[in-house]
Amino acid sequence: MKSEWLRALTGGALLGAASVLLLWGNGRIAGVSGIAGVALRLKGGDLAWRLLFLGGLALAGLLAVALGHVQFDVAALPSGGGLVVAGLAVGLGTRYANGCTSGHGICGISRGSLRSMVATGTFMAAAAGTVFAVRHLGQ
């Protein structure tokens, strides 16, 4: 549907603009997993901007519900145990990979980084393979 992909394109452009703001303003790559992971080291001077960026993400969700009356549809999520396993894998995996969908998928590919292209191809393939296994095998 045309309106759907236009919305996706606009949302994507907004992601690009937000990443440009962090580069032009702070000189940093807008990679969510790296910003969050390094924040866990709790080093003074480097901590505040990280917490504010992450707080901005959470605040966007809060404001969308409070002011925009957005209802987040999470019906497709797995149940408790699966959620925890998935969360652990995402946390551990993105740190070993030095990035996720934002840092590798958006910023890295734009920067022409070979590492990011390999990482993005790999996590997309692994994710598609996992969805295939869950939805189409063993049923």
Binding site: G12, A18, V74, L77, A128
Partner: protein, 165 residues
Amino acid sequence: MAKIAPLFTALLSGLLFGAGLILADMTNPGRVLNFLDVAGTFDPTLAFVMGGAIAVYTPLYWLGIRRAKPLAESKFDLPTLRRVEPRLIGGSVLFGIGWGLAGVCPGPALVVAGAGVQPVALFSAAMVGGMGLFEAVEALRVRVRRSAAQHEVVPQHFAPSTVDS
């Protein structure tokens, strides 16, 4: 004294990034899982998200780094790694498995957890736990390597000669 400007740009960037994820419907695990389900209910819409983001970021990245320094900080702090090593691949596979199980990646996880959606808050807590596990394991590896280097005793007669025999 902490400068205010970089804190303001970081907060605004996070807010905009979150708004982009919501508008793009990356916060909907069902949409993400259908994007990944290439052999089933494939929904290619999310390809436009990545396309739109890269189209905006690419020219403005290259234009931006031509400056001597960013607007609110004293220097650019950009990735320096170049080598495609095993841990990049292994980490990406592990991340992909988690992404494929839940349909949630780190950005959307924090946005939807911020909205107070309980199962996504649980996912985010586990994700932060995984990141903490990485920090703990890596800190331990550094400590083990350092103490091994300290205790390494090279017997005199095994010490490499500096003179060619």
